[in-house]
Symmetry: C2
Subunit: 341 residues, 2 copies
């Protein structure tokens, strides 16, 4: 039987441990997998585009474990009562090809995206960072805030969203968690005095939610919402302000902020910072930019973390997904009884 974590179990898992603690643990798993980057077979993701949105399959494999995620992106969904993004994913045993673990990943993707941002910022933001500006207070915002506190100790937020009701939701959700939150009237106001700026907006356009003049010396810019062709967030001049770090350059050139600059614009794959092959931040005055689009290894790490965390607990279910005939060469024997008269 294949292990299974459904939505209800996922909610109980997060409630039991707290999103902040889980994302701190998950960040360590992601970092550990990024450090062995070259051991992964990085297959391209497969996208099916329609006028309504996109459905993607994201596979990844190391020599022992294969993972894939199913994920959709439908910008007009919320107006119809659906979520923009839903996801589920799976781990399989490379040695025999059997699925071993299936999980909902709508919530898990939200956790892993924020855990990745925090894992990267731990190396790139100034060590004395305390204040984060958040441009965009949508579905991902609370996860980002808690991951940055769990991993870097960030506890002061400056929040702006074009939808005035969105920061209210964020304040309502995060107040019980003890943040100091200032709601701002513009992105520029939010960025003022921030050590880290996280942009996470949903518009499927080449938007400029952060202006070049909003970026001050020493900032770390964590840009999440530019994640598919034609969908970006930053004034491209910001990319000239300091080194740009990416997950997997071939994918980011198509989907990230750097689609707005030259195809040979220099970037550093972040795993190289972790292994010491490339420099991260080199001075307190430097601006650093993480152009995040989301990469399959992060899903692999998140599934691995979840599987390890729920193993042997009441949160680990089973799903009847793999036929197991007594004789593996006699599949028909499973169904071969004659039709009853």
């Amino acid at each position: 039987m294949t292990g299974f974590v459904g939505v209800a179990d996922m909610v109980r898992w997060v409630a039991r441990h707290g999103a902040e603690t889980l994302m701190a643990g998950m960040a360590d798993y992601i970092e550990s997998d990024f450090r062995r980057w070259t051991s992964f077979d990085k297959t391209e993701r497969v996208a099916s585009h329609t006028p309504f949105g996109v459905i993607e399959l994201m596979p990844i494999s190391d020599p022992d474990v294969y993972a894939f995620k199913y994920v959709n992106g439908h910008p007009s969904n919320p107006a119809r009562g659906f979520q923009t993004v839903t996801a589920f994913g799976m781990l399989a045993d490379v040695h025999n090809g059997y699925p071993v673990f299936l999980s909902e990943m709508t919530l898990l993707t939200a956790l892993r995206t924020a855990a990745t941002s925090a894992m990267v910022a731990r190396r790139l933001a100034r060590p004395d960072s305390h204040v984060m500006a958040m441009i965009g207070a949508g579905s991902q915002a609370e996860f980002q805030a808690l991951a940055f506190r769990g991993v870097l100790g960030i506890d002061r937020l400056r929040v702006y969203d074009v939808d005035p009701s969105a920061p209210d939701k964020l304040v309502r959700n995060l107040r019980p968690h003890g943040f100091e939150i200032e709601v701002c009237g513009s992105a520029s106001e939010a960025a003022l005095g921030a050590d880290i700026v996280t942009t996470c907006t949903a518009d499927k356009t080449a938007a400029r939610v952060l202006a070049d003049t909003d970026v001050a010396a020493g900032m770390h810019v964590n840009t999440i919402g530019g994640d598919c062709p034609g969908k970006t967030e930053l004034d491209p001049r910001i990319l000239e302000r300091g080194p740009v770090f990416v997950e997997y350059a071939p994918q980011t050139r198509i989907e990230g902020e750097i689609q707005n600059v030259a195809p040979d614009f220099p970037v550093t794959e972040f795993w190289e910072v972790l292994t010491g092959a490339a420099a991260g931040r080199t001075s307190p005055e430097q601006v650093t930019i993480f152009d995040s689009v989301g990469f399959a290894i992060e899903d692999y790490s998140a599934l691995r973390f979840l599987r390890d965390s729920v193993a042997g607990t009441d949160l680990s279910g089973r799903i009847d997904l793999v036929a197991a005939p007594e004789d593996p060469k006699d599949l028909f024997g499973m169904v071969g009884a004659p039709v009853p008269a």
Copy 2:
């Protein structure tokens, strides 16, 4: 909630209706979807190869419904007590990207592969066909036999396998179903007097399980086992004996029997026969060849047939796979309660 058919329900479904009846119905669904071939977005399959085998994701979409199948192929699995191939798959709503139906597909793939063979043979084999030779009596064999009886009325089998115990298994499984079965000592002997020859063997080599001299005038050759690079079954000279029909030419050129002939070897995509755009069999003396590798539309059709068949019955389960927050913009609200002290 997403609809779900697990292995136990699949076994009950087949036992309730009989594989023969189900495959006849499924053949009609596949034919109907092949007739509207051009309405599908035929994304390439994504394969992850390792020394042990391959894991593939096969996506396909029409303007309303998206489907994908996860399937592995590990030739050394049976020796270790595992099946060579396992699979599961899903249907999603293109309009909002939500998964709507998940099913085991190890058994379903066996059914759809045989249903496809029979659907094609219904148009290409001589109408007076009664005898089928089967080279290879492995996991797929019984399904092929029942599909050919359900769709074409074939009731006499001539069986050969390099493993002498395999035909025993086939006879044991099919005897209660009323076939006339002759076990033969060689492929040539099995082919003698047959109207249709089905080759379905597992060796991952350029094998020649059927010789050119085994093929007589008027035969339909249904070749199943040549389905990945380096894995073929026929003496390539057989391909010169009559028109070769394929599912999707770009995929078959890489995976099918025609990888052993010139890249511009003429083939006909079978959907064109159904729509009348191309000729099928044009004389009783002609040899016809179906070079089958398995295509994603067949999985789409099989999932659609299964979903329709189990709808509203006790075989239709539910799986808790898609998070549904009350406010689609407030995902965190699902998990946001503070950690209990």
